[in-house]
Symmetry: C2
Subunit: 216 residues, 2 copies
DNA sequence: ACCTGAACACCGTTCAAGT
DNA sequence: ACCTGAACACCGTTCAAGT
């Protein structure tokens, strides 16, 4: 999508790519990915069932645009210390993905949107300023992104069980098979962990490791 | 699914849950997630278009079963050193996901299958043996899983561009916008990185960080 | 107990036709 | 330039009916 410019208009039109993207995000937030349909989106925008195809090539385009759109919400922190900058960026990034739970499932598509690239640029520039380069820089950039994406994915997935009965059944299942999964049963693996705490600690492991490599 | 037992039979039947899962994995491997259809899967198995519904409740059940199935391929290493055990587990896990590129997109569903739980049990037991417990144990377990899942997701996504023209266009796009993304343009962000190297280094950052916390 | 086909209520996308 | 509706080739799932 990113390579094809949005159409330009002579006068303010009723339907634009921006309005389509905003409508898609609204529908995804309120009803989830399974309910986002080109027909329903068009109806939501007060257009005929196939009008969207003038502004957008496929449904995948709409999804790519919607995913990039929410990245604009991720704040770019201004802390001086590189560790603080990275923690703040990662925390804000995760918060945005949890606020738009449909976003995790879309990350199998290449992340090339302008807002995504702006965040990645900020992330990598901070690591460069901290002193990384070459293969270490690449690895650190991806590792931090993986932590955010993985955390958002795991927490989103866990919420699919939010149905209390299903959660209870899953925990019971683990207890019934305690001899097969002794460690998991003992640590309460299928009970909701403190996601915020686990995320922050995991990120600290990563940043500690990066700091170690910077010190040598 | 995991709580509902597979049906039992008096005689060897033509269609079983196992055959359905094996057929689904085969179709997903050869044609991708978009092409897996209940109708096509049934046809692939030589059954009527709706026969699957006797053995399985929904298409989501089939996907959950297929995802768990491939986790059986992840080897459980027997190294003595905890770091070696974790590296070997994570590396094997990533390799399996890359071999079945459709698997990354399915991780938005809760990972409760028996094979998944066996790998998670092994991962967490290794961390316990290394000396972790409580909130640190939870955080380390998830952080390692996030690294594997995030890496598989990113590499799979990047391969969607495998089309050489698209890759070239994306790199060109980044170069054209070098003033907006100077760090990314300089580091060649959109050119294929050495995925194996980035994965190994990132995992080392994480394990270094965990080792630091064990030492204090 | 297991399998089938018809049927229902949807999809994404194309395209000739309208304004 | 922009929007429309009919139409095509599909979906997942239900259910009465077969063996």
């Amino acid at each position: 999508v990113w390579l094809r410019p949005a159409r330009t208009y002579r006068t303010a039109p009723p339907l634009t790519r921006d309005r389509i993207v905003a409508g898609a995000v609204a529908l995804l937030d309120s009803e989830g990915a399974a309910k986002l349909t080109m027909r329903r989106l068009a109806e939501h925008l007060g257009a005929g069932p196939t009008t969207l195809y003038w502004h957008v090539r496929t449904k995948d385009d709409v999804l790519d645009l919607a995913l990039d759109e929410i990245f604009a919400e991720v704040p770019l922190p201004d802390a001086a210390d590189w560790r603080e900058r990275l923690s703040a960026l990662a925390t804000g990034w995760r918060a945005v993905m949890l606020r738009h739970p449909w976003s995790a499932a879309l990350l199998v598509r290449p992340m090339l949107g302008p807002h995504v690239l702006t965040r990645t640029e900020f992330l990598q520039a901070t690591l460069v300023a901290a002193g990384l380069n070459g293969a270490e820089l690449t690895a650190a950039t991806y590792a931090i992104a993986h932590h955010v994406v993985g955390a958002a994915l795991a927490e989103t997935a866990s919420r699919q069980l939010a149905d209390a009965a299903a959660e209870h059944a899953a925990a019971q299942y683990l207890r019934d098979n305690a001899e097969a999964y002794p460690t998991l049963a003992a640590s309460g693996h299928l009970e909701e962990p403190d996601w915020d705490d686990a995320f922050a600690r995991g990120l600290d492991y990563l940043l500690d490791g990066i700091a170690v490599s910077l010190a040598t």
